[in-house]
Symmetry: C2
Subunit: 323 residues, 2 copies
């Protein structure tokens, strides 16, 4: 890794025109790393273009340098840096779309495929911006207030406001350093983590008002009629599910979202190490141990009955196994 | 303040039986400071009793040493330490209820009246546990894992998970140190900040599903019928109001809660420095610039109309003033 840092430093020093790119459907860490690195390179007097396949989500338009983001890859460049991507395809572009091979790969995902010439991958870092912050002095990258703000945005969003188990003493000390440099922590939190749309709030309200709890299973449903009634056109139910996991006594959370064409999207969240990915696979879906999903054919009530029975059975088995 | 620290250290060193007390209706910082100091004194071999006028809220029963909390003040003691209280009455007891005068006062509220023999009041600290952590070496107080867990609980809750403007680099570095000592940051966050009851979630869901937005005013109401339908017996609407302030485009949030006897409780929250306390006073209530409330006589719809008109007028005036 030491060699990779030296190699990256030399590549940066020699470059005049850089392309920086992060992953498609970008989150705060993808955007924070992208903008921080882009601005830092520009502070060094280099040309640099920040690319996102889907463009910049409106929520993050407040970040310094956000208006520079483009969806078009420049035709020429003498350095290609990929941030927060476990492989090159995560950028949303095929390898042939770039004017050159990936030179530097900066990431914290343990699944990173080390696809570049210099691979700076630190899976214990809480965010890719944390990797950038730690390596900045050795890479010769300057950090000013704008760069610091973007670095902190990545750290805050990837740890959902310093609340995940990935938060280390080093992550908190990095946040302290960036705050000391003037990065507006409370403002970043409010703007990036504490925002929902009016229509989504009404839609989720319908789900919350019909919550049911049975044993340790907390569940609700959202119908196509709910969607029409409030005018919700989105497809994101993560916010509602996350709210539901905060309800006392909920060991497993399930949400049923009616889809056009006689289908129902089911999402599970589990606490206490219960494995809902097994349930999801049984219904043709997938996911992780604590968070999984599947889309089933059938009417809402019929799917609910089937899935709830299986979910209760999982809880029963787990109880039996604990005895 | 230096003299006060030396005096406090001497008082602690000489004491054998200590009473530690925090404020009534205790929050996470009151409880965290109380339990941290109590356990630390016991680690020094001293007798110590942690007192809370209202006893320990169930939410915080997971904190180390929580089961020691009592509501009864011991008849004798050779040291009385008051934590997180701006004056002695905040304990919920009259001065005469204690076997001695307050010896040590540890706090971070700027309104603290310096009511003890040694006053350790640091208004720039993000929490009273931050004050305790900073002074621990000079006071001779040992910090083990249990003490660290309580200190971190105070810091996390008083900053609502490191998101308030009171978060300083020092606060984040303290959190880093405590995490390094093993304090379970993610677990404390989940248990103390990320919990709501099933019934409350359903009740608030009803409010959310009926959200209205008019200009920059986001509002909703909760009726006595809502309360009956979900079986909600609580009186706390802070969680719903806080959720509402996260909705995009909301400059002022208003919630109307129908009360028995033909009354309506109105709560306002404002963003961008709008002063809703003026509105609240006009309707016989009060509060702070960004958060205020009042209870009005009248039917729900009639009160809504009156209050919304006045709230819109405030927004109009503010717009005019900005021109």
């Amino acid at each position: 890794m030491k060699d990779d840092v030296a190699r990256a430093r030399a590549l940066i020093a020699a470059a005049d025109n850089v392309i920086v790119i992060a992953h498609e459907r970008p989150d705060g860490d993808a955007i924070g790393s992208l903008l921080a690195l882009n601005l830092s390179l520009q502070r060094m007097g280099k040309g640099s273009v920040p690319v996102l396949a889907d463009g910049l989500p409106r929520t993050f338009a407040f970040l310094p340098g956000a208006q520079q983001v483009t969806t078009r890859i420049p035709d020429t460049a003498d350095l290609l840096v990929v941030v927060d991507c476990s492989d090159l395809e995560r950028t949303g572009f095929k390898a042939g779309a770039f004017p050159r091979k990936a030179d530097i790969n900066i990431d914290h995902h343990p699944t990173n495929t080390s696809f570049a010439q210099a691979n700076l991958v630190y899976p214990r870092a809480a965010s890719s911006t944390q990797v950038l912050y730690d390596l900045a002095p050795r890479l010769g990258l300057p950090i000013d207030l704008d760069v610091a703000t973007n670095l902190l945005a990545g750290l805050i969003t990837d740890t959902i406001g310093f609340r995940t188990s990935s938060v280390t003493p080093a992550a908190l000390r990095t946040a302290a350093d960036l705050l000391e440099q003037g990065a507006p922590l409370a403002d970043i939190y409010e703007r990036s983590l504490n925002v929902r749309s009016f229509v989504a709030a009404r839609y989720w309200g319908r789900g919350l008002s019909r919550l049911r709890m049975d044993g340790g299973v907390l569940w609700t449903s959202l119908t196509l009629a709910d969607r029409r009634a409030v005018g919700y056109s989105g497809s994101d139910d993560a916010d509602l599910v996350n709210l539901m996991t905060t309800v006392e006594g909920a060991r497993v959370v399930v949400i049923f979202v009616e889809q056009p064409g006689g289908k129902v999207k089911v999402s599970w969240r589990a606490r206490e190490g219960l494995d809902v990915s097994r349930l999801a696979s049984r219904f043709g879906g997938g996911g992780h141990v604590p968070a999984a999903g599947a889309t089933l054919e059938g009417a809402l009530e019929e799917v609910q009955a089937r899935v709830l029975a299986a979910t209760q059975a999982l809880l029963e088995t787990t109880k039996a196994g604990e005895r």
